[in-house]
């Protein structure tokens, strides 16, 4: 069950205004990558690209290794997982819950030049960093001679 925001009784209506503003820091992505967010929430992601590699950095605080799933399939990189709420039984002690929990998934279309066999991922201090090295030539490149 995904966590919904805890709304203590007796709150004035303006309280919801705050939530509107909080959502303004949601990601605004502009990219040739097709990034899709399905299910629940989506972590904010930076993608950097140069000649040698593509580096994808995602904000994913408080994740356990076992709850993270990163895989490449058919030239698409998928990052998915679930962030569990640490105190399920004590939810009524919470005056405010803003942090996002539950399942997340993001998928990115990768260019042909990515060397899918050598993708590396590192998780440190709540940041997931996926490094995708690029090959010199696209995988299926073929030079065609003109006769």
């Amino acid at each position: 069950m995904s966590l919904t925001r805890y709304n203590p009784r007796g709150l004035a209506p303006w309280f919801d205004f705050d939530r509107l503003f909080e959502d303004f820091d949601r990601p605004l992505g502009v990219a040739p990558f097709r990034g899709g967010a399905e299910a629940g929430w989506a972590p904010a992601v930076d993608v950097f690209e140069d000649d040698k590699e593509i580096v994808l950095t995602a904000d994913l605080p408080d994740m356990d290794q076992k709850d993270l799933d990163i895989h490449v399939e058919d030239n698409h990189l998928t990052i998915k997982g679930e962030r569990k709420f640490e105190n399920e039984e004590k939810k009524d002690q919470y005056h405010r819950i803003e942090r996002r929990y539950g399942s997340f998934q993001r998928t990115f279309a990768l260019p042909d030049t990515v060397d899918a066999d050598n993708i590396g991922a590192k998780y440190d201090k709540g940041v997931l960093k996926v490094t995708l090295p690029k090959l010199d030539k696209p995988k299926n490149a073929r030079t065609i001679q003109v006769k």
Partner: protein, 132 residues
């Protein structure tokens, strides 16, 4: 003229004040109250413990800091969603708190601040004289 303690009706236990000027983003935070303390957890990945400035002043907890933007030039970024720059959050506690014993922990990108409640009732020990 009496100064109103709150300008607007808020959850009486933990209320957030308006953000300070010149902040670039507001990390999301959860606020919990137990029998003995308040716990505030802030999502702020990619920082070091020393990057946080935590203040408790007259019952208001302020958590601030700065997350540096990634280093490459803007031109090399095909997607920029992660917030960067100065951040600050404030929390006010309804009950009295023990400002001398606030502690914090930063793990997996989450800053946890523990604010113990002050004892409001102090039992005064009474020495009884024995009357023979």
């Amino acid at each position: 003229m009496r100064m109103l303690r709150y300008h607007y009706p808020v959850s009486p236990a933990v209320a957030e004040r308006r953000p300070q000027p010149q902040i670039d983003w507001s990390p999301r935070a959860d606020a919990q109250e137990t029998a003995t303390e308040y716990v505030v957890r802030v999502d702020a990945p990619g920082l070091a413990e020393s990057d946080f400035d935590i203040q408790l002043d007259r019952g208001v907890l302020t958590v601030s800091g700065e997350r540096k933007a990634p280093e490459a030039e803007d031109a090399s970024y095909v997607l920029r969603e992660r917030s960067a720059g100065r951040f600050s959050r404030r929390f006010r506690f309804a009950g009295k708190v023990d400002a001398d014993n606030v502690s914090a922990r930063y793990e997996k990108g989450v800053l946890e601040v523990y604010v113990p409640k002050a004892e409001t009732i102090r039992k005064v020990p009474v020495e009884y004289e024995t009357v023979q």
